[in-house]
């Protein structure tokens, strides 16, 4: 295909050509950044969390008298174990993604500092099974450790702790964390086990450094434990929530009892991200549609305007294929120019967003990705008008006007 005649023709129609280029450039810039944001949010919605997310039901009891906790919690646990389908029950202070951060700094030496905020979880007897933690090294807490560990001023009076794999690698790189001492505010605990990464209570607040930084302590029945974790099969979980709320509502009439499946808790946490993803997807789709119709509209008029020229070309021997490929090549040239400008614009917008928002650098492959998308869109949009152009009969050339 000869490009020179196309360039000559484009030079004569500078303004419409420039408009198509501008539209494609803008669409490319917005698309790049929107798709990048969608990708980031979708990735966050799928953050892994090494607990049995599908099988846990969480019942929260607030406002019970803390002085009675030592007798009430064991009684409640017995009652909850009686619910059909429940395989494990335990009390805990908080859950991953419950948006109630209890954070402390933990370090490997008593006088060291850190900027990482670690989420602190206190779990009651059988907590590892009720939560579905995955042990990678070491052992679980034993009965004596559960019974002998208390809670004072946000920290454990016991002597043992479980850490996540991320924290083990952060605090003791290249070494085994087992048997090491974990410090916070000059108090130390011995690490007895390493579990697979569990999310923070509020990973967006904790930031990338604290997302998988979690520590587990054993705790005897204590008033700070407001959550009951019930594990069952995913099919049973809704019923387990209903029955457990009834059971605890009767046992604790003076408290406020609320129940949720853990899956529900997780989707609550990501509800914002989820709706942002849908809104971005909607904007992208509508924007691409508008761009496509714009190209169709402009090219159609262009074709209409050049009916005579097309007729002459056909009369002097050009085939339909020639005409078709003429318009497609023309669109290809415009799209390429547009996407080149658009990619630069997208990069600039990304830099601006990095400066003013919590945004990462866009990986390079987003740029050619959306360039190709818009290039395909251009070819698709031009197909209709180009076919109509190809259908112009040669006889048009012989008519005056």
């Amino acid at each position: 295909m000869e490009i020179r005649p196309i360039l000559a023709s484009l030079r004569k129609h500078r303004i419409p050509a420039a408009l198509i280029v501008l539209e494609i450039a803008l669409a490319c810039a917005v698309l790049c950044n929107a798709v990048f944001m969608i990708g980031q949010r979708v990735a966050s919605i799928h953050w892994s969390n090494a607990i049995d997310e599908q099988g846990i039901a969480v019942i929260t009891v607030n406002g019970a008298d803390p002085k009675l906790a030592a007798s009430e919690i064991p009684r409640n646990l017995v009652a909850l174990r009686g619910i059909a389908g429940v395989t494990a029950v335990a009390a805990a202070t908080s859950m991953p993604l419950d948006q109630n951060p209890a954070l402390s700094p933990f370090v490997a030496k008593p006088d060291a500092n850190t900027t990482v905020n670690t989420s602190v979880y206190f779990i009651g007897s059988d907590g590892e099974r009720a939560m579905g933690l995955r042990l990678l090294q070491g052992r679980w807490f034993n009965a004596g450790e559960y019974a002998g560990s208390g809670f004072k001023n946000f920290s454990s009076t016991g002597h043992v702790a479980l850490v996540t794999q991320s924290d083990a690698n952060r605090l003791w790189p290249g070494q085994s964390a087992l048997g090491k001492t974990l410090y916070s505010n000059a108090t130390g605990w011995t690490v007895v086990g390493v579990v697979a990464d569990v999310l923070a209570q509020d990973p967006k607040f904790s930031g990338p450094g604290g997302m998988y930084s979690s520590v587990f302590f054993p705790l005897q029945p204590d008033g700070v434990m407001g959550d009951y974790m019930l594990r069952s099969t995913p099919q049973d979980r809704e019923r387990v929530v209903r029955e457990a709320v009834q059971v605890l509502g009767k046992l604790q009439p003076g408290a406020v009892v609320e129940g949720k499946t853990y899956a529900g808790m997780r989707s609550d946490y990501f509800a914002d991200s989820n709706s942002m993803v849908w809104m971005l997807v909607l904007v992208c789709v509508v924007m691409l549609a508008v761009t496509a119709f714009g190209i169709v509209g402009l090219t159609s008029f262009w074709v209409q305007q050049r009916r005579r020229q097309i007729g002459i070309r056909r009369a002097v021997g050009a085939t339909r294929g020639h005409i078709l490929s003429y318009f497609r090549t023309e669109n290809f040239l415009l799209s390429t120019t547009g996407t080149l400008i658009g990619v630069m614009l997208a990069f600039g917008i990304n830099l601006y967003l990095m400066e003013h928002y919590e945004m990462n650098r866009m990986p390079w492959y987003y740029l050619p990705g959306s360039a190709i998308a818009l290039w395909l869109l251009g070819q698709l949009a031009v197909f209709g008008p180009a076919r109509r152009a190809a259908a112009v009969p040669p006889v048009v050339a012989t008519r005056s006007v």
Partner: protein, 436 residues
Amino acid sequence: MFAYYLDLALRSLRRNKVLTTLMVLALALGIGATITTLTVLKLLSGDPLPQKSAQLFYPQLDPYPKDQPFSRSGKKLPWLMSYIDAMNLLHARKAERQAVMALSQVKLTPQGQGGKPFYADGVLTTSDFFPMFDAPFQYGAGWGSTDDESRAQVVVIAGFLNDKLFGGANSVGRTIRIEDHDFRIIGVLRPWAPQPRFYAVHLGGRDYGKGEAVFMPLQSVRADGMTPNTVMSYGPEHTDMQHLETAQSIWLGLWVQLSSADEAPAYKLFLGNYAQQQVALGRFQLSRVGLWDLMSWLRNEQVVPDDVRLQAGMALGFLLICVVNTVGLLLAKCLRRSREIGVRRALGASRGAIFLQFMVEAGIVGVAGGVLGLGFAELGLWGIRHQPAQYASLAHLDLSMFLFTFVVALVSSLVAGLLPAWRACVVAPAPQLKAS
């Protein structure tokens, strides 16, 4: 003449229905998206107390050790104050009004049989809170500074709680049970919830949405053992929640009302002197202080969620694409009508007249786009009201945004019409006539 242009424009638009629909639809989508996101942005970055905000200030001190600063960068001052500092500044009475505050989730137990307990947001504060923030009373009044000192068990409740518990009747003098302690109601507020919830920022409350249900004297509820939502320790120990008043922890927000913004430098000087005094006493290591007026504080703490600002930016980008699209389509139309323009010019129409005719046509597209865009904006806001966001229920189109829609529509369509109209009016009549 205008009526004639209008007629010509309508004819021309009607002649090519598909194209007209495309133009109007694209413009309407762009306008709809822009107005939806700008409405939300305007709502979220609004002034919570327009009549008062210039007089309200938020002081900050820094009790953190030098080598373990409050923020990772070490640049930000701590969000909250310790009890000792907040009370010292409160009792110094250097401002016209001053109040300290914390938020707490409290359990309310309705009186009578079968009343199920429930949780509500409570404000723990001091007497100046109500006059300082212009909180309007339906019944009764707030408490005085003597009630603060005497640890009076009194409470001011929000209108919505009064409706829920007492069916909206005057409940002053009645008792409600909060966290298993009896409190006497001394005031009922009218519906009152400044947006953003400026005083709740960093106190562990929501930044937007419904206000709190109960307002109680801080010292009274602390004597009852209630604890605030947010506590941050700056000492080597974890916070002892029983002894928050003496702990090395920050958990209170202090707001002051100055007679005018001119008083701010004097108050800042007072703060600076106070901090230096604390350094001399060995309580502080750093003597830096901060004093923000309400709007700067909200801006600085970036209360408006990033997502909302990103959405507004994206909608504007989208509108720009729609405008470029309209330019293209209008231009295509006008190029196609060269002959008609030639005839009109030959019959005596001036360049200005042609220009005006095309601008009127663009304007009509704009108005139609605006009307349809308003529909899209209402649809968008309806969608936002069904989102889980804190501010969802607030998303409504107000009169100013309603009018702004048409301004946006007209401006964008006229801008889009400029180039095509200019191209149209420079068409030379002779060649066009010759060709036919």
